[in-house]
């Protein structure tokens, strides 16, 4: 599973960990993260992320 990086702030979405603070379970592929999910650090939307 690929990691994705926020191009605004550098936060790395690691699918192994997910983002449990914001309702994304571990082992969720970036593609399967809800479309309204935003970067937990800077608030940027999903389309601001690129593959690491």
């Amino acid at each position: 599973m690929e990691r994705w990086v926020c191009t605004i702030c550098g936060y790395v979405y690691d699918p192994k960990k997910g983002d449990s603070d914001n309702g994304v379970a571990p082992n969720t592929k970036f593609e399967d993260v809800p479309e309204d999910w935003v970067c937990p650090v800077c608030g940027a939307p999903k389309e601001q992320f690129s593959k690491e």
């Binding site: 605004i8 702030c9 550098g10 603070d21 650090v41 800077c42």
Partner: protein, 399 residues
């Protein structure tokens, strides 16, 4: 303001904003502030950061006290927010520098602020070294501390960290150094600044402090872009940032409220009594008296934020809406919340407050309380019990 040599051949050339009261339009700064800029005299004469546009001539004059402005070779932009880059277009035009250094995000931000494709921008990133002659500059990107473009510049020969907004405080003064002022006052202002500007990025502060340690940077002076320069209390401000960013909480509650006919205020006082009975310290703050930024200064080390508003036109009072919006954006973590308020006929306010607190990830150990019109002795007893219950939850959390 006289220029001040802070290290051999490194000068403070900033400006003091004596009459500022509102910082960036959202945080009060009753003591004013400073915009610090630094000029390094070396083979490459280098200016670190600038000042707001309206102070560009003051900066010009500061620089001219030391050199001719056309002598500037390099400019380093640690942060693009206009309080540090507003004078940049003017200074670039006057000095015609060889190069302007900034981070990757800084380049984008400079272009979208000033729309100048012809500036000699050069991107620097982590581990890049820039030689100025005798002195060297090392860079560290500090994205989202507190903008994507933010970075630190470190001059190892002088053990000097130029930290942009981090470690700043809003105080105008004729003195420049931390040992020329009362340390408690300085740390109080550093905390107020952190609460209102840095708090949402606390996890990144942790990372940055760890990264600075990992790099092994030997720092004996921290020069932020606002307020006093740390030279005698570097250890204290680093420890304070450690504490702020861990969001260490005290057995303390902030009761923040607005009131029309003092019924909600009576409830606030009764809740406070319950907390006091259980030895939890309390800070009552009416939003008519205290600005949201001052309340946040108190929220910094408080385990609980208890919010009260009467119901007004089926909603909450505007000052409470203002406060809750502001606090939610600053993302305080690991806090207890509670809601209360009086009402005339419908009584939605406490529930509305509770749901906003929930969205902001507060724990809500008690149900919201509402009282019709004016509280009875019995109502106030319930408020007091609410305070006692909250006190127990607070003590459990901080112990």
């Amino acid at each position: 303001m006289p220029v001040v040599e802070i290290k051999k051949n490194i000068y403070w050339v900033g400006v003091v904003d004596w009459n500022l009261h509102n910082f960036h339009g959202y945080s009060l700064a009753p003591k004013g502030t400073t915009y610090n800029a630094f000029l390094v005299l070396d083979d490459k004469i280098t200016l670190f950061d600038t000042v707001p546009e309206k102070f560009k001539l003051d900066l010009y004059h500061q620089i001219q006290q030391l050199i001719k402005i056309t002598d500037i070779n390099y400019i380093v932009v640690n942060h693009v927010e206009p309080d540090h880059s507003g004078a940049l277009p003017f200074i670039i035009e006057k000095s015609q520098p060889e190069k302007v250094f900034c981070s990757t995000m800084g380049q984008k931000a400079l272009l979208s602020h000033y729309h100048q494709e012809n500036w000699p921008l050069e991107v620097v990133t982590n581990n890049d070294k820039l030689s100025l002659g005798k002195k060297t500059v090392l860079f560290m990107e500090t994205r989202m501390l507190h903008w994507p473009d933010s970075m630190f510049s470190f001059i190892p020969e002088d053990k000097l960290l130029i930290s942009n907004d981090a470690f700043g405080q809003n105080i105008a003064s004729s003195f420049r150094f931390d040992d020329e002022v009362n340390l408690d006052e300085l740390l109080f202002e550093a905390k107020h600044y952190y609460a209102n500007i840095i708090l949402p990025y606390s996890a990144l502060v942790q990372k940055t402090l760890a990264e600075v340690a990992k790099q092994g940077w030997d720092i004996d002076m921290i020069a932020p872009d606002h307020g006093f320069i740390w030279r005698s209390h570097v250890k204290e401000i680093l420890a304070a940032y450690q504490e702020f960013s861990l969001q260490k909480l005290k057995p303390k509650a902030v009761i923040v409220y607005d009131s029309m006919w003092q019924s909600t205020e009576k409830m606030a006082k009764a809740i406070a009594e319950g907390l006091q009975k259980e030895n939890v310290s309390v800070r009552l703050m009416s939003l008519k008296t205290y600005h949201h930024s001052d309340v946040m200064g108190e929220v910094m080390d408080a385990a609980a934020v208890i919010c009260g508003s009467p119901t007004h036109n089926n909603g909450i009072l505007p000052l409470m809406a203002d406060f809750l919006t502001y606090m939610k954006g600053l993302k305080p973590t690991n806090r207890i919340g509670a809601a209360f308020g009086s009402f005339g006929w419908s009584g939605e306010a406490p529930k509305i407050i509770a749901s906003i607190l929930e969205q902001a990830k507060f724990e809500l150990p008690v149900e919201p309380i509402k009282v019709k019109h004016v509280p009875t002795h019995e109502d106030l007893k319930k408020c007091k019990e609410m305070g006692e219950t909250l006190a127990k939850a607070i003590k459990q959390k901080v112990n």
